[in-house]
Symmetry: C2
Subunit: 252 residues, 2 copies
């Protein structure tokens, strides 16, 4: 197969496709064999508050879904995505070019563990992350390396993400995280230990009578301890039919 | 008013009444001017697992609702309630006599802060607590002292309760707690720091689309970090009509 040019003038590599984001007519390049964004990233972008003029960093941005959606949904000044996998970062950069967002969104190739050294202390108003969920004792490592790095804590741990987020944020800066509920106790302990106080939490349940399979958190650097646990977000009202709240977040 | 004797041969003091617990025909003495048990205590007794032969301690038992309900619902060997307020403990003791539970349930007057010195280290399989929810920076102190002590952290803090629970439990012993969600981050941090790993959590929402107003936690002393966040418990299906799950827990 040859590379082909999209109608927006951007090259697609073999196995890649262009998906519509239903926001500002933005599109994103994905490769189903490597890694596609999930509902997690969309819900995190819906949960994240970015005020006009703020600078935002996404730790582990993959193909750029969170910076691109946040650029569409907010009036933030600038959005940076940090990604360690060159191939994902390259797809993210071509998506940004395709959407003509080069002035608003940057993709940087680098290691989350060194993010604060790379960007400097207290350099962002908002940090987001949809990090690898699985630590070594849980789940089976996916054989395709790019998916494994995105899903398992091979190259960085939860503590790495939280430590770097704290360092990167200005005082009172906000950290937004999506993760799996089975790690909630560890997540809260690490956040509190690093001074990123959890202030808002939303559990995402596939159905109202089922266990949650995602947790969304808003933390404020240096805030006092007091959290609002919000009403749950229910994904499906019946089999294959999303609730209104999900349609709203997806922008359909 | 004079003290009056109930048909079960126990004296009631002025202002006291006898309520039916809908379990084993057990009854409880309460005084609406002082302190009555809430849904919190009933839900905690429904959430607590006691295996046959186990020894159970309730930290801050008030009028004895949790030990009495757990005696009714489980095959535990023995139940102890620790209460600092002599007046509540006296009501609890008369309720125990009224239900003829003197061989199974003891009420001890004493301070939670000294509980492990009082009962000895590693002396219980299960510890429960429905502690004061409000720390000094939240809410208004109720002027009636007995209510204030039960609701506000005047005589003991969350950390006191957790520290003593850890000391009182055998290895792999279980701690069950009901509390307010606004303190969830602090609760989890303190539990993890004291080695009482949160293993199961249930949020209680008045209605399905409202924020939770209670959180139930099961912790295991010395366990690995991994929590099951359960399906939410919804209290009302419509105004003034409980859901089936609540009727089940209440035993109606």
């Amino acid at each position: 197969m040859m590379n082909k040019e999209t109608d927006l003038g951007v090259l697609l590599k073999p196995g890649e496709r262009v998906d519509d984001l239903h926001r500002n007519q933005y599109k994103i390049i994905q490769n189903t064999k490597k890694f596609c964004f999930g509902m997690d990233a969309v819900l995190l972008s819906g949960y994240t508050k970015v005020l006009p003029g703020e600078k935002v960093l996404d730790l582990g941005c993959g193909t750029g879904i969170i910076p691109i959606l946040l650029e569409a949904k907010t009036q933030g000044k600038h959005f940076t995505g940090l990604e360690i996998q060159e191939e994902s970062a390259d797809m993210a950069r071509r998506s940004i070019a395709m959407n003509k967002l080069e002035d608003k969104v940057d993709i940087v190739v680098g290691d989350i563990k060194e993010a604060s050294a790379l960007f400097g202390l207290a350099s962002f108003d908002v940090v987001t992350s949809n990090p690898p969920y699985m630590n070594h004792s849980h789940g089976i490592i996916n054989q395709a390396e790019s998916k494994a790095i995105a899903r398992h804590e091979i190259l960085c741990s939860l503590e790495d993400v939280v430590r770097e987020a704290t360092r990167l944020l200005m005082p009172n800066g906000r950290f937004y995280l999506v993760h799996r509920p089975f790690r909630l106790a560890e997540i809260i302990k690490v956040l509190v230990d690093y001074g990123l106080e959890p202030k808002r939490m939303k559990l995402v349940h596939p159905f109202v009578d089922k266990e949650p399979n995602m947790v969304l958190l808003e933390c404020i650097k240096g805030a006092k301890s007091r959290i609002t646990v919000e009403a749950p977000l229910i994904v499906y009202k019946e089999q294959n039919i999303y609730t209104e709240e999900i349609y709203d977040i997806y922008g359909y």
